[in-house]
């Protein structure tokens, strides 16, 4: 688990303005992730951050998700301690780019922000309940087909909303164990 304090990382700024500053923050976050190749989850802590404009949010966080999609071993990204106002702008930015992100509040309650489907939310809820599961196990629990479940989990993994690791199958093939860090 890697925890990054956005306030500290931006030079103790409570107000996050301008896309250039967002690009810089994204670069710093990506570097830290690259330095910790084995991590499953990156927590971006928004404590003390009071405002972010949409340009900063797009460059720092929306494009971060896009950049991580290109990584083979992409960690889950979890946004924590987000104030309501920041949440609003971040959600708009994610929606504009047809992306979503997993967040938790100070009571450790999770939610999705941005553009997501109810099916995505339902799948995450089921995964949180069982802590970890393969597509087969989760499909059984959700009473859906394995292919459908696999697609849903792949989409969530693409969006860095969940994490996965390879587990060997008895038959010799590769299967993934999925989980959500909250």
């Amino acid at each position: 688990m890697l925890e990054i304090d956005i306030y500290i990382e931006t030079g103790k700024k409570k107000r996050l303005w301008f896309n250039e500053a967002g690009v810089q923050l994204r670069g710093n976050i990506l570097k830290k992730i690259a330095d910790h190749r084995e991590i499953e989850c990156v927590k971006l802590d928004f404590k003390r951050v009071e405002v972010t404009d949409v340009s900063f949010a797009r460059e720092a966080f929306v494009k971060l998700l896009s950049d991580l999609t290109l990584e083979m071993n992409r960690p889950q990204v979890l946004l924590i301690n987000i104030d309501d106002y920041v949440r609003q702008n971040l959600s708009l930015s994610l929606k504009d780019h047809k992306k979503f992100a997993l967040i938790t509040n100070s009571q450790d309650e999770w939610d999705l922000i941005g553009k997501y489907s109810q099916l995505a939310k339902e799948t995450i809820a089921a995964l949180i309940e069982v802590e970890e599961a393969t597509a087969r196990e989760l499909a059984h629990r959700l009473r859906i087909g394995i292919t459908t479940c696999n697609n849903r989990l792949s989409n969530l993994y693409e969006m860095c909303a969940i994490t996965r690791k390879e587990v060997g199958q008895k038959s010799g093939g590769v299967e993934y164990m999925y989980k959500v860090c909250t």
Binding site: R15, W17, F18, N19, E20, E50, V51, D53, V54, S55, R58, V62, K63, Y85, N89, L92, S93, D96, H97
Partner: protein, 292 residues
Amino acid sequence: MEVIPLPQQLTEIEFEAVLENCYQYQYAPTRTLQFDLSGTEFISSFAMIQLLLLTETIIRDWCKRVSFKVGNGPKLSSHMYILARLGFFESLPGSVTYYPFRPKTKKSLRGKNEAILEVTDVKDMEHAYEVIELVEKAITKNTTYSGDQVKDICTMVSEMLQNIFYHSESKRAGLVSIQNYRRKQLMQLVIADAGVGIPETIRLSPDYTDNELTDIEAILESVKKGVSRQGVKAGRGEGLSHCVRLAKKHHAQLFIRSNSAWVSVTVHKGRGTAGIGEFFSGTQIFVNFPSN
């Protein structure tokens, strides 16, 4: 010397006529243009900034001198001192001359006006952080807008300032001013530059290479989500569209003048008007927020 009389009330509407009047002298042999302010009793914050940018354009690009007639005798009207308190004369280029004299105000009187933020130059991105902080403090101190409303206004300032620095290629710094109009029950935020203007920027976009957009069309396109100089694929161009979204949220009127066109939208009422005028390089925007 040619005299340009300024009307009793000068807002964005009357300014178009002033501009037209000035342009007839752009290539004329006359070396000095004089703005006659002596009968003017009200200048909106937006018109004040436009007049400032126009004066700079006349001096810099037309290579003419500018003079301001501020009164007819030794006693100036109180309106001239109000303009002085707003920092108007201080912001004009040093080469401007005044008749009969430049209205000055005591330092102790500066700031004692309805301006929330006097005309402020924004020199560069680093300075922009300070200006947004200034905007936030000034609005918090002088209005009853809620914390989230103030954050929204600052967000608009931030998005519009970015457009100045990234796209305008402006020969001068951007300008910001905020004015309270108690009688009209509104607060006017003005952000302006004298750069290449929105139409020129939008026409560089790969999405519009085959379209011959008019200036009005270019402004209307610029407020759409994802439209930027780099094209839709770049995933940018949300600044102005977000400003429109925030204007709608706060029931504000958004007015954009760029190059030869202007567009005014009151999104929550679904009302919009547009028009064309003289070419005036750059982008000048005002947002009228209703008072709480």
